[in-house]
């Protein structure tokens, strides 16, 4: 592929700019809160919206589905983390929050400690329970004040 065309920002803006990130190791955050680190192998461009100018029709698209290879899920609770190997992922574009390019050589401002998968799963379970308890209290307080809970904004209107 001729990368000089691909990396030209005039031609490829927004989602299409990701074509330049193919085969790089990326961090992808999903709407359900999961974080994956994987190689981006492919993306597609369905949902092209007609009715805009020629330039937009040709190069912009709404949902880009992603194919991630050698993915591992990084669970991070507090300053501890663990990576769980997951393999191949095909992700529907609407579930993607954020795609980041990584530089593991950059010094970390907040140090991270790697722990075992068992440990992180235990920590994650505790963390989810804690968040659930806080959410329950919050909902109860809101109902007492006559407010109906708004739910999770990410889940509801992404």
């Amino acid at each position: 592929m001729d990368l000089s065309i691909v990396n030209n920002d005039y031609y490829l803006s927004g989602m299409a700019a990701l074509i330049g990130d193919i085969d790089k190791q990326l961090m992808v955050m999903l709407r359900d809160g999961r974080t994956l680190i994987a190689f981006l192998r492919s993306l597609d461009q369905f949902g092209r919206d007609k009715g805009y100018d020629e330039w937009s029709i040709r190069y912009c698209f709404l949902v880009g589905n992603l194919v991630l290879h050698q993915a591992f899920e990084r669970i991070c609770i507090g300053h501890q983390y663990a990576d769980i190997p997951r393999g191949l992922f095909v992700i529907r574009g609407e579930n993607v929050l954020f795609i980041g390019e990584l530089d593991f050589h950059q010094p970390l401002r907040v140090p991270l400690i790697e722990v075992t998968i068992e440990e992180i799963l235990k920590l994650q379970k505790e963390d989810i329970e804690k968040k659930g308890r806080i959410e329950k209290l919050r909902q109860k307080a809101m109902i007492e004040h006559g407010l109906v809970g708004e739910g999770n904004p990410i889940e509801e209107h992404y």
Binding site: M15, R31, G51, S56, C60, L97, E101, L102, I154
Partner: protein
């Protein structure tokens, strides 16, 4: 398309993007498309204590639909011009 053009004029400026999951990231606006998906370079997470695993991210693509706010550099926004442009767009009949 007005705000798409507006954000295109801010390319190269430093912005802070707040997502609907309360994650805030600062970076230099690299590109934007018609859905207001944005691409940032020189990314910094504003709350590294809460999101330590995002520290090693250098550039990021953010899907427009999950953005709650974009904080803009005040000196680079001509509010007068923007107001005029919004009024002009609303009075103009929409192109088919």
């Amino acid at each position: 398309m007005l705000f798409y053009s507006f954000f295109k004029s801010l390319v190269g400026k430093e912005v802070v993007i707040e997502l609907k999951n309360d994650l805030s990231i600062a970076g230099i606006l690299q590109s934007v498309d018609q859905y207001l998906n944005v691409k940032l370079t020189d990314v910094q997470v504003l709350d590294p204590e809460k999101y330590p695993h995002i520290q090693s991210v250098t550039s990021a693509f953010v899907r427009g639909s999950v953005i709650r706010y974009i904080q803009l550099p005040p000196d680079d926004v001509d509010t007068q011009l923007l107001q005029e442009a919004t009024r002009k767009e609303i009075t103009q009949p929409r192109k088919e």
